[in-house]
Symmetry: C2
């Protein structure tokens, strides 16, 4: 008998039929002798609808009141799912975040889980109840409702799995698992049987939003085995865990991220400390920088390039432009919005030299120009023109999966 | 500086404009230097919509899960009202029933308030916050959400007024106060300036559903002064309190109740104990009996008549019919559904003989036949044909208010 946490997103519980589909998955798991804790998001567009309703009343509503409003969304879906499970004849109880013991920081709208007190859930499990917990929410030290921010239900599920020492945490979603590339765009994209936490983190940060990043980080920290799978098809999904046997698999996926803009400061004097100054200035203004590249010094100057998200481009330019550029002694600041980041991710590349060369060769063969390159131990990213992005993913995927994998 | 509790029903907060209308009332009260605690129901049809949603999933959902679902309704209206108050620039905090200290019995769907712990509300008042509390709900000793049953928000408001020692509890509704008769049906129906708790209770039980009865009972118990008024017209309403100076006012209102059926057991042997047996049998089956009348014994038999609500008629007949009637030695059981109860209520009638005679005379002049009569210290009720009910209310009202009041 295992303890299994199952998380279902908003589309999985969007209406009566979907609720009963989920109730069926849950009660089948329970009927096999497992203990089951279910985590649900709000139904369908409920959260967006509530946000729209709030904005109609007050564009600048306090985050505290927004959280009070939004937490009602999961309350409704959790009780409705419990009713569906009752209808199937199984013992069930729904619990709000605070009832399930979720204690969070005070940051309304983006609270962090501080701890999950297991007493109430343990009591309900002892009573042989299936438990349905509202995801995305908790309570802070003022006894006020908080939300974890978008995607927080994944984190709720992993936190429960950690607190209750669950054997498995299943994240049900609208895709069948983690793929080597976006299956809607790349033919022959393959579902992975397994992937490591680190690879999953790299893929998620690349815009392959299958799992919320915080939930993967937490799963890694507590060694929680995750399974990403579809609530509709009932097929095995992708297991996310620490050690994944890579076999012949060089890389686990190809992903692209189009929410990226490149900024370059041209002609920065080649003196120590200038890069530090630039990036601490950006950090102080809450601007997150992704890839950073510095050209080799020439004639006593260098160029510093980096990428930011589109929403951060304007504030970045405003911060760095004259008079700041002049202060640094730099010539000018230029930027490019029409780019994309394409990456290959794979723990296997560490022990297989030549991954980067293979990727670059594929791009060269397709006549795609590389504007920047960045590498980590398990990832190689290139910046290219955005117009080339989908084609780049396809040719790289083909090179690694259609041919090389069968060598 | 006074502490004022203001309760707003679902139609008063049904949409953005209504929310801002309420926010205006609340903040004007606050701006005059008062402390204000607001109690809200769910918006418009929210509760009915949620019930319909639940029934779609599970006709026989547990009451616990129903309460979990329904309490989300006030959570949404309370936070939205708080946002509207924020928009007007006033300090405000919304609190759920349990945050406001509402501890109830465990009876899901119809919980009784056991106590209201004042600490959190006091803390928020000390911070000069306007408080918006979700009506209709609390938490039981299992830390589970409970609802007080329909109309429970009135009771929530009075309970807060009692716990916080408020100076006044205003119940905002869609009528301007308590009237001498239904103003939509009786011309010259007059709004009362004041009415006693007992009269209000009699009127409420007669179907003049301005105030929930439990809330009036609680207000009477704790001596909370109530004001019933409209959230739309901004006129003074009707004060409900202990001692009302009656002046020339014989009666405070005329009301009718059409949800009434008469049952008669004909030819019951005139032996002691039979009435007791009949009514304890009905009570044991949760059938509430209103008026009871027993004819004077004749030829060693008597007739026992009483009224029940329509929904209780069928079970009553089934319980009393043969073989039970035979067991009693009675002849037969007859019933009449096409009747109505019309009553005059007024603390003044105690000291003014002739109230009953005046009422009966009005009915006689209008050629309306009286089928049963029942009196209490402050009420006289008659059963008449339902077809005559509206006319009866009119002629009685006219007799007492258009002529006699000016004697």
């Amino acid at each position: 008998m295992a303890l299994i946490v199952q998380k279902f997103g908003g589309s999985s519980v969007a209406n009566k039929d979907r609720l009963f589909n989920v109730a069926d998955i849950v009660t089948r798991t329970y009927a096999k002798g497992n203990k089951v804790i279910v985590v649900v998001s709000a139904q369908g567009d409920t959260t967006d609808d509530l946000i729209a309703k709030a904005k109609e009343v007050n564009e600048d509503a306090s985050k505290r009141e927004m959280d009070m409003l939004l937490t009602a969304g999961e309350q409704m879906s959790a009780s409705l799912l419990a009713m569906a499970i009752e209808k199937l004849g199984y013992p069930v109880v729904s619990l709000l975040g605070w009832q399930a013991g979720f204690v969070t920081s005070t940051a309304y709208g983006s609270a962090r889980i501080k701890r999950v007190e297991p007493d109430r859930m343990q009591k309900e499990l002892d009573k042989k109840n299936i438990i349905v917990v509202t995801g995305f929410q908790g309570i802070n030290r003022y006894d006020d409702m908080t939300t974890l921010g978008r995607g927080g239900s994944d984190t709720s599920a992993v936190a429960i799995a950690a607190a209750m020492h669950a054997d498995l945490c299943q994240i049900y979603t609208d895709v069948e698992g983690v793929y080597t590339a976006d299956p809607r765009k790349v033919k022959n994209a393959q579902k992975l049987e397994a992937i490591s936490y680190d690879e999953m983190l790299e893929l998620a940060s690349l815009g392959a939003q299958v799992l919320n990043n915080r939930s993967v980080e937490m799963a890694k920290k507590y060694g929680i085995e995750l399974e990403v799978l579809s609530s509709m098809t009932r097929k095995p999904g992708t297991i996310v865990k620490e050690a994944v046997k890579m076999e012949e698999m060089l890389i686990s996926g190809v992903a692209k991220d189009e929410d990226v803009a490149r900024v370059s400061i041209i002609g920065v004097p080649d003196r120590p400390g200038l890069a530090f100054k630039i990036f601490s200035k950006l950090a102080a203004n809450n601007i997150n920088v992704d890839i950073i590249l510095q050209s080799v010094g020439r004639n006593g100057t260098k160029d510093i390039s980096f990428t930011v998200s589109h929403s951060n481009l304007k504030p970045t330019i405003e911060l760095l432009n004259t008079p700041y550029a002049e202060q640094l002694g730099a010539n000018t600041v230029v930027y490019d919005e029409n780019i994309a980041k394409v990456s290959v991710v794979g723990a296997g590349m560490e022990s297989h030299p030549g991954t980067a060369a293979k990727m670059f060769e594929a791009l060269f063969d397709a006549n795609i120009n590389i504007r920047m390159i960045s590498t980590s131990e398990i990832k190689i990213s290139v910046l290219i023109d955005r117009a080339d992005a989908d084609r780049a993913v396809s040719v790289i995927h083909e090179r690694f999966f259609d041919k090389t994998q069968q060598h």
